[in-house]
Amino acid sequence: MTLNLKSMALAGVGALAVLLASGAAQAQSTTLTLLIDNGPQTVPVFEAYVAAFEAANPDINIEIETRPGGGEGDNIVKTRLATGAMADIFTYNSGSLFQAINPQQNLLPLTNEAWQANVQDSFKSVVTSAGDVYGAPYASAMGGGILYNIPLYKELGLTPPKTWDEFMANNEKIKAAGKVAVIQTYADTWTSQLFVLADFYNVMAAVPDFAEKYTAGEAKYASTPAALQGFERLQQVHDAGYLNEDFGAANYNDGIRMVATGEGAHYPMLTFAVGAIEEISPGNTANVGFFAQPGNSADANGLTTWMPDAVYIPKTVSNEEAAKKFVAFVASPEACEVRNATVNPTGPYLVKGCELPAEVPPAVSDMLPYFADGGNNGPALEFLSPIKGPALEQITVEVGSGIRSAADGAALYDEDVRKQAQQLGLAGW
């Protein structure tokens, strides 16, 4: 019996040695894992990035894993970081959601990488925590505002509005012509937030220190008229009967289809949707234009902007050098060219040397003047403050469906914000 056991143990050691030897042989070519969200704009781009990178670095092999977006994706990222099971490189939001994954504890600082010199400061600031920069942009900046159907505008002789009153006047004419004036798609609850979030440039124009005071717990949505206005406008378009009949059951893809084909005139959305038009409604990209969410006066018209997601390296990375090499590639002008060849651009790039192609969709060219000299733009609140209440999308569905009044909704959101601030451990709450 003892002999048998010994020989079995010896056989086991032998097998282990063989395994170790083969492992050592493989170690010459490094394998990295990459976790990305499963968005239609993300997957093809990263497949192209990885193909181009592996061609230039044959000794590095990258395996792509996908995860869902939204709240479920937040869960996966947080859980994998907390359990030390994160992939070697991963994509995640910048701004307030980035602050919630505890960057100093979980992520590798990339402050001293050479490519940082080419990244715009406006982006660096949204992936910085306690003085260290942790991420690199892999997409372009976006605008939040209103996508509109160009042929319908021409047919009715309308011009893109500069003030909210002009916008509502356009809506009235569109409704009178028997068309859907404003498309809302509350089956995908996140799409309901746009009228509130994209109004933030107008909030800052009226109350320049709102973001600061909001973070400190001094300014509230319900008691700041300029901030409450976003909720009120959401309610106005519902109460005036401008919405599509199935607004409660339609989803994001329906919204894109409707604004692309002219079933509806306006769809409040981020410009990343421009990249999805070709897939959902082929041939209609040229029919969709864009304008910033109009405010109270034409002089103060400006665009609320969103920073793209970033790629990060967790502290648990298996091969730091190889992972940094890939991140450096993502933040390079070559990567932008790969991107341009793969999907339609959705806004200006944040890396020096990156150029948009000569031909861009009208919704993107409509957006460029806001970024040019003399144009006005400012970041959305989630890039100026670490606090974003998680229940906003349910509250905006209620306000936008006439279930709850704007004032009530704003007060409820303030309550939600307080909970998030406490969870983040901020002072003054």
Binding site: D74, K78, N102, T189, E245, R404, Q423
Partner: protein
């Protein structure tokens, strides 16, 4: 004879105590330890990365949640509606399927079939069928001139639409339990009733119904607990919406977990645990005591 149970109790067990150890270790590691850990974490502000002890703050916050009261009411409403419909419909179907009708075996499997299908699949299918303008249900209603409501988008209806789908999916199980209960009733009672000249209704009311009480108790307990902790169907169909209209305690807890409020959602789970205990333990005792008196 009276002393027999006492001797049986005092006699040492046939198996040594350490035979129970493997099961005890697995049970403590996988069930007891997490349960007690969650009791602790419900008293902390927990980010998964670190936790701060904050006493009963989470419970105070949980009960301050503006939609919690509605969620609690929705949960109880949902459990009451689904379990009572399952009792009534399950009993009716079982009576039908134990009588001499054609294709009985086939009909029995048809009634049971929805139980076997994935809940999320059922939820997504019915979401499509219940679409306010393009859904088959409202298009069918439109053919006969009725404008169907927004089954899942009208805040007053959403919860009940989901409850109906739950009944559609779950009634098969109730029926099977009732069939077993009905078949177990001795034929002698019916014969005696027939000799006494009982009508079909009297047969049902005075023989079938009282003697199928064990089956009723099982159906009510199972479907009530199922209704109280329901989550998958609601999440697949409305995600608690529109707004918060069809939120139940379980979906409120899940949303807090999704938002990263781990301590708060653990506190919610403790509340749900206590709530189910408070409702179900007396319910089971009541139903079983009645049964003992028969």
């Amino acid at each position: 004879m009276a002393s027999a149970p006492t001797t049986a109790r005092s006699r040492p067990s046939t198996y040594p105590v350490w035979f129970f150890l493997p099961a005890a270790i697995i049970y403590s590691a996988l069930f007891l330890a997490p349960t007690f850990a969650s009791l602790y974490f419900s008293l902390t502000r927990w980010t998964l990365f670190n936790s701060v002890f904050i006493g009963f703050e989470n419970f105070a916050q949980f009960f301050r949640e503006p939609f919690l009261i509605q969620g609690l009411m929705n949960t109880v409403m949902y459990a009451v509606v689904t379990s009572s419909l399952k009792v009534v419909l399950g009993m009716g179907l079982a009576l039908l399927l134990t009588s001499n009708i054609i294709a009985r075996g086939y009909l029995r499997s048809v009634v049971f079939f929805p139980v076997l299908v994935s809940t999320v699949g059922v939820g997504i299918t019915f979401t499509v069928l219940m679409h306010p303008t393009q859904g088959m249900i409202n298009q069918g209603l439109a053919l006969i001139g009725i404008k169907g409501p927004g089954w899942l988008t009208d805040p007053r209806l959403a919860l009940y639409s989901v409850a109906l789908v739950d009944v559609w999916k779950g009634v098969g199980l109730a029926t099977v339990i009732y069939i077993a209960g009905l078949v177990a009733i001795p034929r002698d009672y019916y014969e005696a009733a027939r000799i006494d000249g009982a009508t079909a209704w009297q047969n049902f009311w005075h023989v079938t119904l009282p003697l199928s009480r064990p089956a009723t108790a099982t159906v009510i307990t199972l479907s009530f607990i199922g209704g109280l902790r329901t989550f998958d169907l609601i999440w697949a169909m409305t995600k608690g919406g529109p707004g918060f209209a069809s939120d139940t305690v379980a979906s409120v807890i899940y949303k807090q977990y999704q938002a990263g409020f781990y301590g708060l959602s653990t506190a919610g789970n403790v509340v749900l645990f206590v709530l189910i205990g408070i409702i179900v333990v007396p319910l089971t005792m009541f139903l079983n005591r009645k049964q003992g008196h028969e």
